[in-house]
Structures are given as C-alpha cells and as structure tokens.
Amino acid sequence: MFKELDPILHSQLRLAVVSLLISVKEAEFTFLKEKTNSTAGNLSVQINKLKEVEYIEVTKQFKDNYPQTICRITKKGIDAFETYVKALQGYMNPNGQ
C-alpha cells in the first residue's frame, strides 16, 4: 500500500522552496525567487500556503530602508519533508516496503 503524498509538498514550487530551506538556516525571499526561477507573485502565494500550515516561518523586516522577507523552515516542516521523502522512496522502491 502506497503512502499518500502530502498535497502541500507535492507541488513543484512549494517542494523547491522547502528543499532550499531545509539546506540553509534561513533565506531571503529574493534568494528563493532566484533559485526557483519563479515570479514574485506565485512565490508569495506558495510561501503563504506553507506558512499557513506552519511548515515555514516568515519574518518581515527592513534592511537599508528596503523591506526584507526572511523564511526559515520549522520543526513541523522538517518532519513533513522527511515523511514526504520516505513516502517517495516507497513509490520508487515498492518491494522495499
């Protein structure tokens, strides 16, 4: 029996954002935008979705008089990511389950 994949993570842009945030302690919105090749609007929507389910934390502040958005993954986000990867491995290697 295959485990159901987390619908929040099983989306290209959200998965890319979480994969980036799992690799670093925290990242600016501009860094995520640059690395995911996404538009600011789309990225903003997906970040809000991840924030709503508490997979990431978002801090808004000012840096040199410019607004700055910093994102970091939460413990819940790390757990969800690990569960997602394990489920993917189950799909890839069904006999190993």
């Binding site: 994949l5 099983h10 998965l15 994969s19 690799s23 090749n37 996404s38 840096k63 890839m92």
Partner: protein, 200 residues
C-alpha cells in the same frame, strides 16, 4: 516554475537538484583567513626579530591581534549585509571561531600570569595546538582541504617547535599562520573571484 502535479521520480529529482543549487550558492570570500594569516605571521616574525635583537618594545606588535578585531567585525557586517541566506555552515563556523577568539584571550591571560614560571617556547606550542583545532573543524565542515592540511601542520609545527630553543618557536608560529589561514584564505578567495566572474 510551473505549478502542476508531478511524478515521484520528478519530485526526487527536484529535491536533489534544489539542494545542490543551495549548496552551490555558498561562496566564502576568504578575507577573514587572509587578514588573520597576515596579522599572526607579521606578529610571529616581528617578535622573533625582537627577541633575537633584544628590542623589547617590538613585542607590543601582538597588539595588532586586538586591533585586527575591528576590520574583522567590519568585514563580517559587510558580508552579512550582502548575504541572501544563512547556511548551517555559517552558524557552525561562527560559533567555532567566536569560541576560538575567547580561547585566545584566556590563553593570553594565562600566559601573562605564568610567564615567569614556564618556558616561552611551550606557550608557542600551545598556541599552535589551539590554532589547529578550529582550522581543521572549519576545513572539514566547509570542505576546504587546504585548511585541514594547514590545521594538521599547526599540530606538527607545535611538536617540532619544542625541539628548538626560544625564540625559534615564534618562526613556527608564523609558519602555522601561513599554512593554516593565509594560504587557504588566498585559495578560497581565488575560487570566490573565479565564481563571481563566471556569474557576471
């Protein structure tokens, strides 16, 4: 990036590709190691000269290590401002080098208290031993082989210096700073410049 559902294979590929992208984004400038490599090398060589020619006031060259904290703070602030993300390596190395800085201060205090009782060459060996610890850890974490080699050489120099009378251990100290920080710093900086030029 399109917002559509995709296969497990594509998911795994996306995860590994994105994590590789994040790793590739990390570029250390190497300015800090260059600064400290120069400062400690100069201090070691000048104090060797001071000891050989009995010029006591020249020993105050070690105050350079306190003065160098100012440009180090400015460099750190500048690099922090330019940084778009904070890596786990940044957090670990920052903690390691802050601890190292305080260890150096404690060691200097101990050295000044015990100066009359113990051989000065012994102190140089202890300094080199301590230089090696954060250097090897940083080299291992950040995958900078030259730093690992430099740190190991610090320990070898620490042992070797005990076979020579004072002030010759100071020359080993200067050599430690060259191999542990100056050379790796220059190599990291050259790599940084190359990557920066490639991204322009």
């Amino acid at each position: 990036m399109q917002e559509e559902k995709f296969s497990p294979q594509e998911s795994l590929h996306l995860i590994s590709e994105t994590i590789s992208k994040a790793k590739a984004s990390y570029h250390d400038t190497g300015i800090g190691p260059i600064l400290w490599g120069c400062v400690v090398t100069i201090c070691g060589l000048v104090s060797f000269y001071a000891s050989m020619y009995k010029i006591s006031w020249l020993y105050s060259v070690w105050f350079l290590t306190i003065i160098a904290i100012v440009p180090q703070i400015l460099i750190s602030i500048k690099e922090r401002k330019q940084r778009k993300f904070v890596s786990h390596n940044d957090v670990a190395t920052s903690a390691i080098w802050t601890t190292f800085g305080f260890s150096m201060m404690v060691l200097s205090i101990i050295e000044n208290i015990m100066r009359a009782k113990y051989d000065l060459g012994m102190h140089s060996a202890v300094y080199m031993l301590v230089y090696g610890i954060p250097t090897i850890i940083t080299g291992s974490i950040c995958n900078i082989k030259s730093m690992v080699v430099g740190g190991i050489l610090c320990w070898i120099f620490a042992i070797a210096s005990t076979f020579f009378p004072y002030p010759f251990p100071l020359l080993f100290m200067a050599a430690s700073a060259v191999v542990a920080w100056l050379i790796p710093g220059l190599m990291v900086n050259a790599k940084y410049r190359k990557q920066k030029a490639a991204n322009v």
